[in-house]
């Protein structure tokens, strides 16, 4: 139910009335579309897993890339027809595969609607053999004919995989938010891992980083593309592709994205997830960790100085602050900090933000941060806000209510929770255990 495909986004409302001409045109298009659909269905119901039917699915998917059933038909055409059959390694099935399905489908006759039974293994039989075990570099001298056949199979599969990756690119560029295309592309890439020698598969996956970057240049916040990038990196790092950590290069990538556009929260987010890993992998000592924390604070504070209205920046700033106060049970940058160290940093940030007020006295995010961080400080010190702090928070809250009346319900709750109402109760200061400085995250 959370699928947005097919809904109208950002298309200007026009009169729904069509001219007779448009109507006729629509009817013609519908007829063509249905004929194509019917042709595919009829072939599939007869288990014709041929290149011809495959071409028909290309045609239909270009008309409608949201048609998920046709993407599935395409997968089945590959598995049962066009991909080589590793189990029959001695039969070089490179050239035009015949229409002999590997009878693993159920006998259901409902055309292409016949899903593969109730079981749901994402990888039906044929591809399990031939994976990883005997790769090209292993070269364990089995029969030579077998090796040659296998090589032919792999070449066939490699060609198909490359063609499929090429096929989806223009579709993705046109419909960058279509879940089905992304998911099909990932399935094809998985086939590379299952069917090709590690080094060949790896080269294919490496090229995917280029696609992810291209999509993110077109739309810096496309969460499909960010998710895709994360997935690609994960695979490239995995042992099945003979990989190693890419935390350093991904960290650099976020730096580049941020330098192009400070407001890119997706990039900041990615950065926040990478840093703890990066430090662990660098085997960074306490000094190196503190240095990185300082660099990050420096970077984000310079950005905030230029654009204090930008929520993305404050979210990242807050994530750094949480590293100082809410660190127990989370991956953290500076696990060895003493409480005094943490207090020093929080105080330093609060003072820096107060200075911002000299240039910007009408930006609500500044007041919000000041209140938050004052409460953080109290948490760290395990005490309630003192009279001066309460007075300051009261003033900041008044500014919040004035500048951001939309969220008055929230400011009222905050006022109550901070004990800033006349005769209000004691503030809700969560006590946290700052003695557990060793709790370094993953």
């Amino acid at each position: 139910m959370a699928d947005q495909g097919g809904s109208q986004h950002g298309i200007a409302r026009t009169s729904r009335a069509r001219t007779d001409e448009q109507r006729t045109l629509d009817l013609e298009r519908i007829q063509k579309y249905h004929l194509l659909e019917e042709e595919i269905r009829s072939h599939v119901s007869q288990h014709n897993y041929t290149p011809h039917v495959f071409q028909l699915t290309s045609k239909l998917l270009k008309l409608n890339p949201e048609y998920y059933t046709i993407w599935n038909v395409r997968r089945r055409l590959l598995i049962y027809g066009l991909f080589s059959k590793p189990s029959a390694g001695s039969l070089p099935s490179t050239a035009s595969p015949t229409s002999s399905p590997t009878a693993t489908t159920t006998t259901s006759s409902a055309a292409c609607s016949s899903s593969l039974s109730t079981a749901t293994p994402p990888a039906p039989g044929p591809q399990t053999a031939g994976r990883s075990g005997t790769t090209a570099d292993d070269n364990n001298n089995t029969e030579e004919t077998h090796g040659a056949a296998e090589e032919g199979n792999q070449q066939n599969d490699l060609n198909i995989i490359k063609t499929e990756l090429g096929f989806t690119i223009p579709l993705l560029l046109e419909s960058p938010k279509c879940y089905w295309i992304w998911s099909y592309r990932l399935w094809i890439l998985q086939q590379a891992i299952d069917r090709l020698p590690v080094l060949v598969a790896r080269r294919i996956w490496e090229e995917e980083l280029g696609l992810a970057s291209k999509m993110l240049t077109k739309d810096r916040r496309n969460f499909h593309a960010w998710g895709y990038r994360r997935h690609v990196v994960e695979q490239l790092e995995s042992s099945q592709l003979g990989g190693k950590s890419m935390a350093e290069s991904e960290f650099e990538y976020t730096t580049r994205m941020i330098s192009q556009d400070l407001s890119n929260f997706s990039a900041w987010h990615s950065r926040s997830k990478l840093i703890p890993r990066l430090l662990d992998e660098r085997k960074a000592d306490d000094a190196a960790r503190e240095m990185l924390l300082n660099e990050e604070f420096g970077l984000i504070c310079r950005a905030i100085n230029v654009g204090p209205e930008d929520q993305s920046l404050w979210y990242y700033h807050r994530s750094l602050m949480l590293n100082l106060v809410g660190f127990v049970g989370h991956p953290t940058i500076t696990p060895a900090f003493s409480r005094d160290d943490r207090v020093t940093y929080v105080v330093r940030e609060i003072e820096g933000i107060k200075e911002l007020l000299e240039d910007y006295d009408d930006v609500k995010l500044i007041y919000e941060a000041l209140i938050d961080y004052t409460l953080y400080l109290c948490q760290l010190l395990g005490r309630q806000p003192d009279v001066t702090e309460k007075q300051a928070m009261t003033e900041w809250l008044a500014m919040l209510k004035k500048l951001d009346p939309m969220r008055n319900g929230r400011w009222n709750d905050l006022e109550r929770d901070c004990g800033l109402l006349n005769g209000g109760r004691r503030p809700k200061v969560v006590s946290i255990d700052v003695g557990q400085g060793q709790g370094q995250g993953e």
């Binding site: 139910m1 959370a2 699928d3 947005q4 495909g5 097919g6 809904s7 109208q8 950002g10 200007a12 409302r13 026009t14 729904r16 109507r23 629509d26 298009r29 519908i30 579309y33 249905h34 269905r41 409608n64 949201e66 048609y67 998920y68 059933t69 599935n72 997968r75 259901s108 409902a110 055309a111 609607s113 899903s115 593969l116 039974s117 109730t118 749901t120 994402p122 998911s183 990932l186 399935w187 916040r221 969460f223 960010w226 998710g227 994360r230 929260f265 987010h269 926040s272 929520q311 993305s312 979210y315 807050r318 994530s319 949480l322 009346p405 939309m406 969220r407 319900g409 929230r410 709750d413």
Partner: protein, 328 residues
């Protein structure tokens, strides 16, 4: 609150009868190319339209018998439903089917003429990744917290939640949490209002909402309201009517709906209506569609706009249905 709406100008009232007619007209457009291009969403669309009609107080505006026939015609042997006859089974259309049948009180028909509740439950349960706890959308393996939520939604309506490993699924959701209190599509992904809804609602169904950092999440969610009153789905993005559901229902679940400006949001949703021909769009002046129509109306319902039936913030279905089905 009702007082405030009387002061709204005429054109800023909810155009109930236009919306009802619009939804009724959706299945009469078979001579439009778009009708066929969106066939992969037919069952979902039926759920969106039907739910909107129930909330508008017109539960009988679509013919019940035909609705049941159509839903059952989408079911496969394995218990799952495709989006339309001849379309492959998928989690999303299966959830819509269960929601529709629940809303029109037709589980009996599923038992007698369809493949039965147990088979539907089995189809959904088989899509759980038993290692990580999350769910795939279909046999091809795409995983997303949307599917996890869908599974919990449908299975709990069917009384079959015990078929899956709830604890594992809960662990997975916890792994999707971010420092800002929100949740992403998978572990490591940035917070997104749509995914937040799915995660918070799934935790609620599992009886584990205590795992949500309500304060931090509420703050993030309340910042989604921007000038003009509409809500966006992530920082520094444009507003869109559908977030009137994803954001607002999440706020409702954690008891923080009062952290945004209700009247301004109501104004924004109402400005997105096509008051003459019915339907609601993503932003004022854009093309309407049934998806935004539903989420505009569910948003208004959560905001207690007068004349609307209350919507359940977890299931996105009429509260009366949920009370009947879950025996609350």
């Amino acid at each position: 609150m009702a007082e405030a709406f009387k002061k709204l100008p005429e054109k800023l009232q909810l155009a109930t009868s236009a919306h009802v007619k619009y939804i009724q007209s959706l299945d009469t457009r078979k001579d439009e190319y778009d009708y066929w291009l969106t066939e992969h969403l037919r069952l979902n669309g039926l759920y969106w339209g039907l739910t909107a009609l129930h909330l508008l107080g017109h539960p009988d505006a679509l013919p019940r018998a035909e609705t049941i026939d159509f839903v059952l015609s989408c079911q496969h042997e394995n218990g799952g439903f495709g989006a339309a006859p001849g379309h492959d089974a998928h989690m999303l259309s299966t959830v819509s089917a269960v929601q529709i049948l629940a809303t029109i009180d037709a589980f009996d028909d599923l038992e007698k003429r369809g493949r039965g509740k147990a088979q539907v439950g089995k189809y959904i349960a088989n899509l759980q990744n038993r290692q990580t706890g999350t769910f795939a959308g279909d046999e091809w393996g795409e995983e997303d917290t949307r599917f996890l939520y869908g599974a919990f939604n449908a299975l709990s309506l069917l009384g079959l939640l015990y078929l899956v490993d709830v604890d594992k699924a809960v662990d997975h959701i916890v792994a999707c949490a971010n420092f800002d209190g929100g949740y992403g599509v998978s572990p490591g992904a940035e917070s997104h209002a749509g995914q937040i809804f799915t995660c918070v609602a799934a935790l609620t169904i599992a009886g584990r909402r205590g795992l949500v950092d309500a304060d931090r999440l509420g703050r993030w969610l309340s910042e989604r309201q921007i000038a003009g009153g509409g809500l966006n789905g992530r920082p520094e993005k444009k507003e869109d009517v559908c977030y009137s559901w994803w954001v607002l229902s999440s706020l409702e679940m954690i008891g923080k709906t009062h952290w945004i400006d209700r009247d301004q949001l109501i104004g924004f949703i109402l400005r997105c209506q096509d008051t003459e021909r019915g339907g609601i769009s993503d932003r004022p002046g854009d093309m309407v569609d049934v998806w935004h129509t539903l989420f505009g109306i569910t948003g208004l319902s959560l905001l207690e706009y007068p004349g609307l039936q209350p919507v359940d913030e977890v299931y996105c279905m009429p509260k009366s249905t949920i009370e009947r089905v879950l025996g609350r």
